[in-house]
Each structure stands twice: as structure tokens, then as C-alpha cells.
Amino acid sequence: MQPIVEMRDITKRFPGVVALNRINFQVFPGEVHALLGENGAGKSTLMKILSGAYEPTSGHIVIDGTNHDRLTTRESSQAGISIIYQELSVIEQLPIMESIFVGNLRTRSLLGIPVVDRDAMYKRTQELLAKVGLKRSPDTLVRDLSISEKQLVEIARAIAFSARVIVMDEPTSSLTDEEVRQLFAIIEQLKAEGRAVVYISHKLKEITAICDRVTVLKDGEAVGTRDVANVSVDDLVAMMVGRELQAKYNEKRKGHVPSTTPILEVEGMTRRDGYIKNASFTLLEGEILGFSGLVGSGRSELMEAVYGAAPRKSGVVRLHGEPVKIRRPYDAIKAGICMLTEDRRYSGILANFSIRRNLAIGEQMKSSFLGGLGGLIDFRAELAIAQDQAVAMQVKMRDIEQSIAELSGGNQQKVLLGRQLATNAKVIMFDEPTKGIDIGTKAEFYAIMRRLAESGVGVIVVSSEMPELLAVCDRIIVFADGAQRAEFSIEEATEEKLVRAATHHVSEGEEL
């Protein structure tokens, strides 16, 4: 069988780095081909060459037997290559129908003048939506859709323009388990139609569940391409990171006994916007407390309320038994409570600041006065703090004066964690700390959390990845509908129990 696309000996150099070194990558009709690698391994660069956004330094791209030195974006889409990015690119303000046909509106002739043919597009959109299993009217505005629904719109759009290769970049990072199952069903269907899917993900279980072949990249080199049927999750981890790290990742947290002294007590927390009603929990010194639950169950919302980032109606926060008044994040940082937010780009990094400034700002706020309006910057101390944390966090960077925006996601996350650690926080709340982060960095994060806990810091982890919670926590609270549903010690917790607790309330009546 002839591949739809074959990338031969692709090399891509950027000033100072070789991003890809002689990569070979083939996509056959009807296959789901996983592209796997840590952050910065070269996956995105390879896909950008495929989409025509980048020109390869050397190598060829063969499409249907025709040889190209590079693709233009037009050639790429004409060849039927369609990329669905993690940050979806559907236009929020438009109805589904128009966002699918934007740039290619169907027209009919009215008195010889081409006018937009709404009826034809409406009908076609209905067909497409039925195909991807999205039960929405073509008139629905895209902004009213959930993330998973928007993703389906993008898939519909790819099909509308007869895509033969659909690249999905971390398609499940914001989806619930049920939505993931739906997506997989659609992928199966695309496969049956002879289309190919390139599946980029860090989630190894998904790769073994849905993919046929897997190509692993590491530092711009191809480690190899394998049939998924013949590899285990452990093999994949080994290919990605090497043997040593694999052991670390699977290491269970055993034998650690947190003290019995509470460090943080939250009582009767109610948010003004009603997302959280009367929530209470206690965190012990040196404990790692996990919060499990579905996306939107109120875990992050609770942490925001504790942190003072969202207005609360009532609720008491006690630190070491003393009530602390937290009305805004500044008060929390002052008291010694830090938060690593879920959305790095939106509420985490200061993209216009250097790594140095990003690392130092936590300590600077903590040591400021007048609600953050007072205080001078000590440049020498700032540099020292930043350098210490950059070393401690092992941030991969060229220069500490470099913009944080130039770092990979995992390294940005390390900088943000370093920012919190520099404040000597007593309690750190991690909200989805390893979302979209490669396995190597994940292992480093887990190690840091454990170290923090052992030094007496209270650690809270909100995560949608149950293996993560089970690997790192002492105790897990399950949240649903803005309230606590269940609590498990690590000994009794299993993925099954967590899922059951999180979904129990919806199993009677409503569909999930």
C-alpha cells in the first residue's frame, strides 16, 4: 500500500539548534499513527513542516508519489492534510455552520450574482454534525459549545474539506472520560473511511487504546516506529525517557506518615457566584491531599476561593489554627498560601517578562507592603532568587534574561513552581500541575511535591489524572457539583472508586 504522506530525511535547523535530525515519518490510509515524545522533542516542528508553516532545512515530502522539497500551506491543505491544534482555532463568534465554511462559503447564482447559499451549507453541516455525533443545530454559536464540542466542529470541518490526514494535537487534554470515548468512536469511523489520523498525546494509555503505530521522537531524533500491538506502556516510556525515569514514575508513595497537626483548615467556604457551597476540608502538615472529580466539579473553584482569587460569601480559612483574612491572592501569598493555576498561559506566566522576573515576582509580592503598592526592587536579590530557583527546578533555558514565552510548557511550569517555592510557602495548591507536560517533567514534579511534603509543607493537588493522584497523594477527596462526595485514604483508593464517587450522582437519571 502506498502511504498518503511520506516525510523523508527531514532535518530542520533553527539558529543554534537542530530541531529535527533526519526524521522519516509515513502515514498510511486508514491508520492511526501516534507521535510521541517529551515537550521539545520536535513533534510540533514536524507537524508544522507537514502543514506548510515551516520549510525543512533538508529532506523531502512525498505525497501520493509526488516529491516536494517543501509544502506551502495551500499545497498541504489541497493534499488533504488538516491539523487540529490544542488551542482550537474555530471562530467563537460565528455559528457552527459558518465556522465550518468560513473562507469557502458555498454560493448559488441569484440573477447571475453569486450569493451565499445558506440552505446548502445548512444541510451539509447537518450531515457533517451527524457524522461526528454532535447533536447541535448548525445555527448554534461556537462560543456556546463546550471544548469537546468545539473539537467535534473542527473534525467536521476537516471532513468537509475531504481531509485525508487529520492531525490531532493533544485532543483529550480537556476532555472527560466519556468525551474521550466519543472521540475514539469518531476516530474509528475516520479510520474505516480510509482517512489517517496522526495522534499526538502524552497519555500512553490512549495511545495503546486507539493507535495502530507509534513513532517516538526524542531531542529531534527518531527513536523508532513500532506497531502498537507489539509494545507495552513500559516500552513506550523507556523509548521516550530511558529506563531510570520509568522506575521513578511508577514508584508509589509508601511509608510516609504525615503529622496529625492541621496546617490548613477550610470551613464553610461559599463562593459569591455559587460555584461552591459550604465546602470544608482539613490539610495536615506534610500531607499531600488530592482532589479528584470531573472537569467542572468545583475543585479549582474551591482552590480559587481559598486563594482569594474569587469573591467568597462566607467561609473561614485557618492556617496553623489561626484564622487568616484572605480577600485577594496578595493576602494568601502574604500568609504563606500559594497556588499554581491550571491554565499556564491565561493565569500563570507573565509572557512579557523574562524568566528572572517571572521567578522573582512571588517573593517580591510577599515582601512588599501597602497591598503590593510599596517596596523597592533589589536587583541583586532578585537575580539571586531567580538563579537559585532556576537551578533547583532544572529549568532548561538559554539565559535567565530570556522571555518566558520562549520556553516549552514544562519549563514554564517549572518557572511558575519556582516562583511559589521562593516565597517559602506553607501551603501550595497545585491545580492540574502536569497538564500537557511530558513524563520526564512529571516525574520531577512528583519528586518535588514529595520533598515539599517531607519538609512539612501542606500540598494540595487537583488533578483529572487519577494515576497521578494515586501515585502522589496521602488522601484523596472526590468532588462533584461543588461539594465533597467522598474521601479515601491512599490505601483504600482505586481508580474505580474515584470514578464511581465522582459520577454516582449523575447515574440516576441524567446522562453523563
Binding site: R13, P15, G16, V17, V18, Y307, A309, R328, P329, Y330, A332, I333, M339, T341, Y346, S347, G348, I349, L350, A351, N352, F353, R357, I361, G362, Q364, M365, K366, S368, G371, G372, L373, G374, G375, L376, I377, A405, R419
Partner: protein
């Protein structure tokens, strides 16, 4: 594996750092060639600086509004209102330094704070709020002054504020440079100064990092109002009377200086010192075109073209285009 930097890349690096200075030097060179006798003299350079002092004062205040990805359209009106109020207070018999403190410094800061407070309260874009307050304060200026110039000010006031410091440098220049120097220190060395850049770049991330967005917004607009009040003071001193229509359209000069000074309209990026140069560029163009004998109408054309040119060059060669 490092590749050689190309000439274009080197130019880009140079441009992103020194664009404003390069423009100023180019403009100086052009006028020096066109009118070597009148333009190229120490006296004329002093005159340019003095003429630019009001633009500079307005611009270094405006900078903070634009730094927050906002804008302050009211600075021209604030300049007129503070000038008229201070002049009225002098005419009413208050000692002139106290009249200036109340009428220009405190009133300017209070008006700026009001802008900031309204923006915080309503969550509306600063453009809308200051468009409204621009009209309100201009109207109040006419009410307070009865739409007539306020004159009969104490001569010492004009001699000191409109005169020369130590008989050497014009006082408006000293005031503009002093204010600019304080604001440079504020942006570089203080925490709230640094925080403003964070708020302008990503308010959500700044909030989670512990920065109070509302108090910093209030601060930025207070600085803008205060600087406009000082511009009002200098203006009255130079003219010897307070004109109710003073500063009409000056907000555009201020915004132009901020933009020519390379400040990002998207917030979070810019330098006070470059804004000062931006103000000087505008002053130089006006003065130079006068010297060359170009009509005042064309001066506006030239300035408009320069704004478009400066932003275009920034777009192509600026630091942002690399991302």
C-alpha cells in the same frame, strides 16, 4: 551549530533597542541639512526642548494608561482645567505656590484617580470612560473660567515656573526632566512600577501572582492625571494666563509621543525614557518644519505620517515580530 546572524537580524536587534533614538537622529539630520543656519544652533535646541516640555509631561503620564493596554483621552482637558483652577486661586489671593499645589498637583491627581475609580467601578474600557471625562472636564473648564482667559497672575509665578533655573536652563525643561526621571525610577526600581508592566501584559496572571489590579489601575491613572496637572501648570506659566481652550487636541500629541516612543498598544511593554524622546521628536518636527517654512497644516500631516511609519517599522523590526 550556531548560524551566523544575518544583516537583517542585526538590524532588527539594533532597531528593537534604539528605534526611537534612531528616528530622532534621522529627523535632526534632515532638518540640519534643510535649514543649517536657523535649525542647527544651541539656542534652537533649547527652544525645541522647552516647546516639547508640555508634550513630554502629558506623554510620560499617558504612558501609564497605555502601559495597561488602556488610554487616557482626558489629559488635554485636565491640563486646561488644572491651569484655570490654579489661576483662579491665584487671582483670589492665594499664594501662588499653594495655588499650584491645590489647583494643579492635587486636582490633577484627584481627577486621574477619579478616572481610575470609574474604570474600576464600571469595568468599561478606559477609552469610553476618558472620552466622557474629557468632555466633562473641558466643560467644567469653561464653567470655572466663564470661557475667558484668566489673567492678572502674580509676576513671580511666571518668573519662576516660566523662567530659567539658576538663570541657565528653562524651568519647563527642568520640570519635565525631573518628572520623567522620577517616573523612570518608579518604573524600574519600585515594585508597583514593575507590577504595572505585569498587569498590562496579562492582568489575569498578574492577579494570581498577587497583584491587585484595581489599585494599580487607580495608580496608573492617578499618575496620568498628576502629570497632566503639571503640564497645565507649565502651560499657564509660559503663557502668563490660563486659557480655557488650552491643550485642546493635546491628548493626541501625548498618545503620539507614547507610540513613537515604542510603547506597545497591547500593554505591558515600553520605556519612559523612550517616551521622552518621542515627545522631543514631535517638538523637533514642529520646530523644524517652521524653520524650513512649511505651513502649520502640513505639520499635522507630517506627524500623522510619522506615527504610522514608526508603528509600521516596529511591527516589522520590533521585538514582538520575532514571536
Amino acid at each position: 551549530m550556531t548560524e551566523k546572524t544575518t544583516a537583517a537580524e542585526r538590524f532588527q536587534a539594533l532597531w528593537s533597542r534604539y528605534s526611537t533614538f534612531i528616528i530622532l537622529v534621522l529627523i535632526l539630520a534632515v532638518f540640519s541639512t534643510l535649514a543649517p543656519g536657523s535649525f542647527l544652533s544651541g539656542n534652537n535646541f533649547m527652544r525645541i526642548f522647552e516647546q516639547s516640555s508640555i508634550t513630554i509631561l502629558l506623554a510620560v503620564g499617558e504612558f501609564f494608561a497605555i502601559l495597561l493596554a488602556g488610554i487616557d483621552l482626558s489629559v488635554g482637558s485636565v491640563m486646561a482645567l488644572t491651569g484655570v483652577v490654579a489661576a483662579k486661586l491665584m487671582v483670589l489671593g492665594l499664594p501662588w505656590p499653594i495655588a499650584l499645589l491645590l489647583g494643579c498637583v492635587l486636582l490633577g491627581a484627584a481627577i486621574g484617580a477619579l478616572n481610575g475609580w470609574l474604570i474600576n467601578l464600571t469595568n468599561l474600557p478606559p477609552f469610553v470612560i476618558t472620552l466622557g471625562t474629557m468632555a466633562i472636564f473641558r466643560g467644567l473648564t469653561y464653567v470655572v473660567s466663564d470661557a475667558r482667559a484668566v489673567s492678572g497672575l502674580p509676576p513671580e509665578f511666571g518668573q519662576v515656573i516660566g523662567g530659567r533655573a539658576f538663570g541657565l536652563v528653562a524651568m519647563p525643561i527642568v520640570i519635565a526632566l525631573l518628572v520623567s526621571a522620577i517616573l523612570v525610577f518608579f518604573t524600574v526600581k519600585t515594585k508597583p512600577g514593575r507590577n504595572l508592566f505585569a498587569v498590562g501584559g496579562n492582568p489575569q496572571a498578574a492577579w494570581f501572582a498577587g497583584i491587585n489590579i484595581k489599585s494599580h489601575t487607580l495608580l496608573a491613572f492617578t499618575i496620568s492625571g498628576l502629570a497632566a496637572g503639571l503640564a497645565g501648570m507649565v502651560n499657564v506659566a509660559r503663557l502668563g494666563a490660563a486659557e480655557p481652550n488650552a491643550g485642546t487636541g493635546y491628548e493626541l500629541f501625548a498618545i503620539a509621543a507614547v507610540i513613537i516612543g515604542g510603547t506597545s498598544f497591547f500593554g505591558g511593554e515600553g520605556k519612559v525614557i523612550k517616551v521622552v524622546i518621542g515627545g522631543l521628536i514631535i517638538g523637533t518636527i514642529n520646530n523644524g518644519l517652521n524653520m524650513v517654512g512649511v505651513s502649520a497644516y502640513y505639520q499635522q500631516v507630517a506627524m500623522g505620517a510619522l506615527i504610522v511609519l514608526a508603528v509600521t517599522l516596529d511591527r516589522f523590526f520590533g521585538a514582538r515580530s520575532k514571536r
